[in-house]
Symmetry: C2
Subunit: 275 residues, 2 copies
DNA sequence: CGAATCCTTGAACACCTTCAACAGGGGTGG
DNA sequence: CCACCCCTGTTGAAGGTGTTCAAGGATTCG
């Protein structure tokens, strides 16, 4: 198992159909920034414990650990087409979502209208944490490819909270730490280090999910990478070319093969966790 | 009341003495990045409800609202000299701290040793939230001037959590949102917009605390501003000069007088909240 | 096959950094 | 009290990094 993308898992939950640009969450309550059509997507009854990404999903782990939860909690899967929205900024918060397959990105929309890609979510990641403190989402979440998510409604969430308050703190804390680390990186490092750090982050997340840390497919376009890392598409492209020249990695469109992980870590100014 | 700094409030809690470079928190458990001497600082028994910054302190507000809490919770004030630490990165988490007077900064230390100033805390702000999800602090907190903080130990914290879980989410969420907003700003805007945004942020926070939003003293040096905003000291200095030339504000060392708040908002690419 | 999107590459330019020098203030010690 | 020193802040000049503008190639999809 060397080459793979998260796409492979998608087939497992595909079964319902949905049309382009749909949204799972509640209907809009405040100003919209996007005008993608929104309707309810097909729902697929499913227990969380059948989740393919269970091993790296904190919610699934908690449910599995507590037998009283695993029998009482009925969660539903949703099938998303590319470009479908999970929620929009301003939506009332009524559920968290666990990514089961595919990949989701969230972005902020500033007052001046420009967007910033905040996070890329992989299977096992929990989506919607941004709204925990208030009751509206502060970011929008959209599928970058055909994806599946598992909806954890507010009511079920409260059931979970009774059993493990720490879960929520870990979730929110995880986002907080990640943001702060990225902030540090964006401020202190040059573009090449930032891209190297980004690739390493992906690599480690793939590895944590049982995939190869050295060969994977990017689920996002150059535009999103640049936006996320605060650089232009052209710079992303040039850096990939330079890194390839330097023998750090091979890039063919979305397909990345890391040749020299050590140097990549060094370039990012990070320490390698592995022995 | 036009000109003031947070210093004025400091006198209210000064009464104990402490020597340079002390730290309130627990003794170090992991690697230290700083070698400032650490001993317990003088403690000043005090009820939170006597806090000068109570109006803008979520903890104080909660305690005041719940009569059963206001009688059972005994919190202690700590007096910090300039450069005293509240906690170090790696310290075990055993309390949150509410800033009562003065000003505190927190910074991250990266693997390569360089530091990044994450947040400047004013009276009423809650410190130490970074450790809520784990049990160690991920940042260090140091007083930028003589300051007073109110310690809220873990045990008391749990008492508070029973009454209002939302409090914690608001706290953590606040940090999350602020970080994300700053991230967006750092990535999308140029240096001048970033500095303008920073000043507006300060202005709004001063105003929320009953001080003039147009005239205040910076509690941090240029170095810290630059570090926080991801630019060099020289750039900060040059931008202040330029803004002064453009009639946006007057700067005399730490003293800032905003002349044209509207233009400053425009420069930052923000919308003015006021009518 | 054409259209649209994505990606790459080149050249000029803008922004910010770095290096260097200096001015002013505040604190300390003689 | 004054001289000194260190820290903070300012300003100038040169240089680098990344952006913008422009054009062309590659891939996908209807």
């Amino acid at each position: 198992m060397t080459t793979q993308s998260m796409d492979s898992a998608t087939a497992a939950v595909t079964g319902g159909r949905s049309t382009q640009g749909q949204c799972i969450g509640a209907m809009p309550k405040v100003q919209r920034y996007r005008t993608t059509p929104r309707t309810k997507v097909t729902m697929l009854a499913d227990y969380c414990r059948t989740c393919v990404s269970r091993a790296s999903c904190p919610v699934a782990l908690l449910i599995t650990a507590k037998s009283e939860l695993s029998n009482s909690l009925l969660l539903h899967s949703h099938v998303l087409k590319k470009e479908d929205y999970v929620f929009y900024v301003g939506d009332v918060f009524d559920a968290l979502y666990v990514v089961k397959s595919g990949s989701i990105k969230t972005y902020l929309t500033s007052e001046t209208g420009d967007e910033h890609v905040v996070t890329f979510y992989m299977p096992g990641d929990v989506l919607g944490v941004d709204a925990l403190g208030r009751n509206v989402h502060t970011s929008s979440a959209v599928a970058m490819e055909a994806s599946g998510v598992c909806r954890v409604p507010l009511a079920q969430l409260e059931k979970l909270a009774e059993h493990s308050l720490g879960l929520f703190f870990r979730l929110v804390y995880g986002e907080l730490t990640r943001d702060q680390q990225r902030l540090l990186m964006l401020i202190k490092k040059g573009a090449e280090s930032r891209l190297a750090g980004f690739l390493i982050g992906l690599s480690e997340r793939f590895e944590a999910r049982g995939y190869s840390p050295r060969e994977f497919n990017l689920s996002m376009v150059r535009q999103d990478i640049g936006n996320h890392l605060g650089m232009s598409v052209e710079t992303v492209s040039r850096l990939f070319t330079r890194m390839q020249k330097d023998g750090l990695l091979d890039v063919d469109r979305r397909h990345v093969t890391i040749r020299d992980l050590d140097s990549l870590y060094k370039l990012a100014g990070l320490e390698q966790a592995r022995g």
